[in-house]
Amino acid sequence: MRTWKTAALTTALSVLGATTAMAGCGIEAGRVSIVGNEFPAIHTVAEGAEACAGDGVEVKANLTADHQKINVAGMQGNPAEYTSAIIATSSIMALMNEDLIRPLDDLVAAHGQDVPKRQLIVIDGKVMAVAFMANAQTLVYRQDVLDQIGVAPPKTYEELLAAAEKIRAAGIMEHPVGGAYAAGPSIALEFVDMYIGHGGEFFKPGTAEVAINNEQGVATLNMMKALSAYMNPDFLTHDNNATAAEWEAGNVALMNFWGSRAVALVDSEGSAPQVHENTRVGPPMTVGGGSIPASALWWDGWTVAKNTTDQDALATFVALAHGTSPEILNDKTMGQAVWMIDGYQPAPVNGGVVAAMEMGTKPYPMLPYMSLLNTAVGENLSDFMQGKESAEQALADIEAAYTSAAKEKGFLN
C-alpha cells in the first residue's frame, strides 16, 4: 500500500513538474491577448504565439475582419483588454493618435536580438511595431481564360480593359473583372491605389490640406468607372470577402487583389479544380502610361499596448516574437504571405507582392489624417460610380467631407 501511495505521489509530482517546464518560450507568467485581421497569415502568427501558452501564461487571439472597429476601444482601458494589436500601415496611426502603443526599444534590446532590423518600424526614433509581412494589391488572373482569348497577362489597366472586352465578346464571362468596390473602406483603398498609379499626391506638401481634385483624380475616377462596367452590377456591395467568393465561384477572370488573400484562392477549398488550378498572381499594373505601379505597399506587424503591466508587455513581446520567428515557416505557411522572416522562400503565389517591391511600388502613406481621407473617399464615390454625378463633383464632395472632418479632429483650423 505504501509503495503504491509513494508511486502515485511521485507520478503526480513529476507530471506537475513536467507541466511547469512546458510553459514554452521562457516566459514565466503573463497575459497575452491579441486582436487582428482575419486571413491565413495572421492565423499562423496567432498560432505561433499561442504555442507559448502554458503554466501561468495565457494567450488568446481575437481575429476578425472588423478588428479596426474594436482595437482602439479595446486598448484604451486600463488595463487594456488587448495587450497586442496586429495592424498594418494605416491602422497603426489610429493607435498612435490615441497614444495606445508602447515603444519597444527596451524590449528589443533585452529580448529581441533575433528580430532582424529590417522588421522594426521606427517612428520618430522609437520602435513602435515589428513588421512580419509585406502586402500589396496586384493582378490576379485566370490562366485558362486568358489562353482561350489568346492574350498575355495585362501589364497595364488599359490592357486589362481590352482583355475584359475580349472575354465578354467571346461569351466566356459576362462580368470578367472583379474588385472590392463596396462603398466604404474597400472602394477607398482601390481609389488610393489607382490615384498613386496616376502619380497624384494626396495632400499639399507639409500640410493636412487635401489636394485630389485635379486631373489625376479625374483620370482615376474615370478608370474606376470603366473597370466597373465589366464588373458584376452589385459591385457597390462587394467587399474583399464577396470578391473572393465571386472568384471562387468562377465568375471572374481578372482582378486587382491582395497578395495575402490570393493565397486562399489557390488552395483546393471552396472552388472547382478548374478555378483554383488556373489562378495566377501577376505584378501590379500601371495606368495611364505611367511607370509607378497602381498599388501601394503595406506592412503588417504587431504592437504592444501601453496600458498593460510590464510583465504582460514582456510576455506579449516574447510570445509574438515567437509567433513571427523562423519557427513558424513550414510547407503549409511558407506561401501564405511575403514573410519578412529569415528563411522565407517565396512561393509562386507570392510573386505579385515580390514583384511589387521590385518595381518600386510606393508605400501606403503613414499619416495621422490619411484615415479621414479614406473615410471621405469611401462615403462619396457611390453616386459617381452609379453615374449620378460628375467626377469633378465627386472629388469636390470628397474634399469638402475631408476638410470638415479634419477641422473637427483638429488637423485643420
Binding site: Q68, K69, V72, S90, S91, M93, A94, M96, N97, D99, R118, Q119, L120, I121, V122, I123, D124, G125, A131, A134, A182, A183, G184, P185, G206, A208, N232, P233, D234, L236, T237, D239, L297, W299, M340, P363, M366, L367, P368, S371, L372, N374, T375, E379, S382, M385, Q386, E389, Q393, D397, A400, A401, S404, A405, K407, E408, K409, G410, F411, N413
Partner: protein
C-alpha cells in the same frame, strides 16, 4: 396616493431613467458643443521595411498637456451643427442661391450627407408605419377568423419575423435578393430583364429595405390587434349581424372604432422605432444607396476615424427629430392631463 408614497414608488424607475436617459442626453449635448483640440503635429522620420520617409505624426506630449487642461476639448458652440456633415448651412445657402429650380435644389441638398440620411429615414418611417398597421390588422382579423385548433401554430408563424434577430433576418433577405438568389431571379423573370439587380438600383433597394421593415414589424401590430379583437363587444357584433351588416361593414363600424386607441399606440411605437432604422442598412450593405441617421452615427463612431463630436451632434439632431414627430401626441396627452 400620498405624494410621499408615490415618490417612493417611482424611485427605482426614476433612478434608472436618470441614469440611462438623462445622463446620456446631457452627455451628447455637451459633447456636441466641443471639438477635438488642435492637433500639434511634428515632422518625423519614419523607417520601415521599404525605406525611410519624412512624415508627420501627432506630438503626443504637447497634445497630452492640452487634453489634461481641457478634457472635453475645444468649445466650439454650434459649429459642429452647422458644418457640412450636419445642417450644412453654408452649402444649403449656396445651393439656394445658385440652384435652377426645385429639382436642382433637391438634388444638391440630397448630395449632403445629413439631408440624404434624413430623406431616407423619413421616407422609411412614413411608408413602413402605415403598411405595418394595415398588414398587422389584416393578419389579426384573418387569424381571429380561423378555427381554434389551427390558431396556435398560426400565431407562432405570424410572430416569427419579429423573433428573428434583425441583423440575421435582413442578412437572409440580402442573399435572397442577390441577382442569383430566389427573390432576385424571380424579379428578373417577372420583369423580363436579365440584367435587373436589386443591389445595383437605388429605388429598388429603398423598396427592399421598406419591405424588410414591414415584414419585421408587422407581427408587433398583429399581436396587439389580435389581443384587441378578443375584447370587441360580442353583443354589438351580434346586433350588427342581425341588422344585416356585411362582414366589411361590421369591421368598419364596430371593430375599427374599438381598435382606434390601439392604432394610436402602435403608430407611436412604430414611428419611434422606424426613425431609428439601422440594422437593415448594415446587413444589406446598402450604404451606397440609403443611409439613415442611426447609420450615420454608427459610421462616425466606428473605424479608425472616431468622430465623436460629429456623432454626438447627429444624435442630438435625431432626438430633436423624434420629439418633432411625436409632438402632436405629446401635446394631446398634455392637454388631457391638464383637463383632468
Amino acid at each position: 396616493m400620498k405624494h410621499k408614497t408615490f415618490l417612493w414608488f417611482v424611485l427605482p424607475s426614476s433612478l434608472a431613467m436618470i441614469l440611462f436617459i438623462v445622463f446620456p442626453l446631457v452627455s451628447i449635448v455637451v459633447q456636441s458643443l466641443h471639438v477635438a483640440h488642435d492637433q500639434v503635429v511634428t515632422t518625423v522620420e519614419n523607417c520601415g521595411p521599404f525605406g525611410c520617409t519624412t512624415s508627420t505624426i501627432i506630438d503626443q506630449s504637447a497634445t497630452e498637456a492640452l487634453r489634461r487642461e481641457q478634457p472635453l476639448g475645444r468649445y466650439a458652440g454650434l459649429t459642429t451643427y452647422l458644418d457640412r456633415r450636419h445642417l450644412a448651412v453654408a452649402e444649403v445657402g449656396d445651393a439656394w442661391r445658385s440652384a435652377q429650380g426645385w429639382r436642382d435644389l433637391g438634388a444638391r441638398m440630397l448630395n449632403l450627407p445629413f439631408y440624404k440620411a434624413v430623406a431616407f429615414t423619413l421616407a422609411y418611417t412614413f411608408v413602413v408605419t402605415p403598411l405595418t398597421i394595415i398588414l398587422g390588422f389584416i393578419v389579426a382579423v384573418a387569424v381571429n377568423g380561423v378555427t381554434r385548433s389551427v390558431r396556435g401554430p398560426l400565431i407562432f408563424f405570424s410572430l416569427l419575423p419579429m423573433i428573428i434577430t434583425p441583423l440575421v433576418g435582413s442578412l437572409i433577405l440580402f442573399w435572397m435578393i442577390d441577382a442569383r438568389g430566389i427573390v432576385g431571379a424571380a424579379l428578373q423573370a417577372v420583369a423580363g430583364d436579365p440584367g435587373l439587380s436589386v443591389k445595383a438600383s437605388t429605388p429598388l433597394m429603398w423598396a427592399m429595405l421598406m419591405v424588410y421593415g414591414v415584414w419585421h414589424a408587422a407581427p408587433f401590430a398583429f399581436i396587439i390587434y389580435y389581443a384587441g379583437l378578443q375584447t370587441v363587444n360580442a353583443d354589438t357584433l351580434e346586433s350588427a349581424m342581425i341588422d344585416g351588416a356585411t362582414r366589411w361593414q361590421r369591421i368598419r363600424f364596430v371593430v375599427l372604432p374599438h381598435l382606434l386607441p390601439l392604432t394610436t399606440f402602435i403608430a407611436l411605437i412604430q414611428i419611434m422605432d422606424n426613425f431609428r432604422v439601422f440594422e437593415p442598412i448594415v446587413s444589406f450593405a446598402s450604404s451606397a444607396h440609403a443611409t439613415s441617421l442611426s447609420w450615420t452615427i454608427y459610421n462616425d463612431l466606428g473605424g479608425e476615424t472616431r468622430q465623436l463630436s460629429a456623432a454626438a451632434a447627429t444624435s442630438v439632431l435625431t432626438v430633436i427629430g423624434v420629439a418633432i414627430l411625436l409632438s402632436p401626441v405629446l401635446v394631446r396627452t398634455w392637454r388631457e392631463f391638464g383637463r383632468r
